[in-house]
């Protein structure tokens, strides 16, 4: 069963190129930030992974709704794959945020809005995966996860507003307002980073989905062998 995955290879190729481009732009093209210095370059990866982290959960939300509305294993495959890939990105968001905070503000954690909402999303991701792990049977797993995904997703924008207002009323004495001078070159670098990370997400998502489908096929074979003898 020789299967040359052309699309996969293509995706890997394109995302590799874009990531390299992004790295180049972030380290060579974008200027040194006035206040924070070179450490500020983490910002591009931090924001990009935050975007993918959110987007991945949005995909899971849609996939869950589609599963409930129409049924079909493929929607659940999409949902779980997106969560797993998204978990990686949101973890990156939290870690890069923490690494950024230390040299700039002297502490590993600040309750500034974006970092906090990323932490909330991280917890939701983990809860989602724990839920799936704790349920027997693929149909129930998919169904309950879809409901949880839907309920969780609608609260994320509300959490975002709540955290923003909270921090407006009680500004973090450390971070205060966003003290960054944004120049056009930085915007370019950010856009390329966003594109790179999004492509990376799509590549990994596709791979994860193929893995899940292969696992399904294996399970079917296994059951067939056990039954047929």
């Amino acid at each position: 069963m020789k299967d040359k995955d052309v699309t996969g290879l293509l995706l890997v190729g394109i995302s590799s190129l874009t990531v390299l481009a992004a790295l180049g732009m972030v380290f060579l093209y974008a200027p040194r930030e006035a206040t924070m210095g070179d450490v500020q370059r983490i910002f591009y990866f931090h924001v990009s992974s935050a975007w993918v982290g959110f987007f991945a959960f949005f995909v899971t939300f849609l996939a869950g709704v589609a599963y409930l509305a129409r049924g079909g294993r493929r929607w659940d495959i999409l949902a779980v794959s997106s969560v797993e890939v998204g978990l990686t990105f949101i973890t990156m968001t939290v870690v890069t945020g923490s690494l950024w905070a230390r040299p700039v503000w002297g502490t590993y954690w600040t309750w500034e809005p974006r970092l906090t909402i990323s932490a909330v999303q991280l917890l939701i991701y983990i809860a989602y995966l724990m839920l799936r792990a704790s349920i027997e049977g693929p149909e129930r797993k998919a169904r309950f996860a879809a409901v949880y995904g839907a309920a969780a997703f609608v609260t994320v924008p509300l959490s975002w507003f709540a955290i923003r207002w909270w921090r407006t009323i009680h500004p973090d004495i450390l971070t205060g307002g966003e003290g960054m001078a944004i120049t056009p070159r930085m915007v370019h670098a950010l856009l390329v980073s966003l594109a790179a990370f999004t492509l990376l997400y799509v590549t990994l998502l596709r791979q994860r989905m193929r893995l899940e489908r292969a696992a399904d096929a294996l399970e079917r074979l296994r059951v067939g062998v056990m039954r047929g003898g």
Binding site: I124, V147, L158, W165
Partner: protein, 223 residues
Amino acid sequence: MRFIRKVFAIVAKDVAAELHTREILSAMLVFSLLALFVFSFALDLRGAMARAAAPGVLWATAAFAGILGLSRSLAREQQTGCIDGLLLAPVDRSAIFFGKALGNLIFMVVIEVALLPLFSALFDVPLLQPEVLAVTALGTVGYAAAGTLLAAIAVNTRAREVMLPVLLLPLAFPALIAAVQATGELLEGSTLADVGGWVRLLVVYDLLILAVSMLTFGYVVEE
């Protein structure tokens, strides 16, 4: 309307069962008192610190006590297969949700009615003003609704009750932040208009959660 009659029938059933055993309310109450003690000692809450911490401690306590009640309330339906009894009846699945959620809301409110005067006295804060009560009510509605839906999910997992806090707390953040912040501001003398933003957030949260739960509860309880 038949729908509403059945919702109230379910609420009445939960209240009747609770009146016979009082196990849910007593567990929630005892837990709340213990939590209150632990917070007071662990954080050394006195004077100005106590007043500042009061809204947070109140809601942390209510949140955890609520989880106890929610788990038990849904577990009751699993006991002797009673959830099947409900599903066999000609009743809308969303009516089952509203019935259970309203019952859970009542339990939480009963506990809060006991806690608020106690907190007011211990922390020296005027919690018994109508504005604070309104905010507390709004927050509890959203929490009970989300909790009912998620407890119905949790009861089907291997981990059972342990799963509920993991599922519920991240989803409850908007309501908890809003309720704590609004209560805090009200205690410092703001008016309801001043905390309008938080109140609106709570209302939107409640409506969204109720809508999602109403639409998806059927998928949770039916096989």
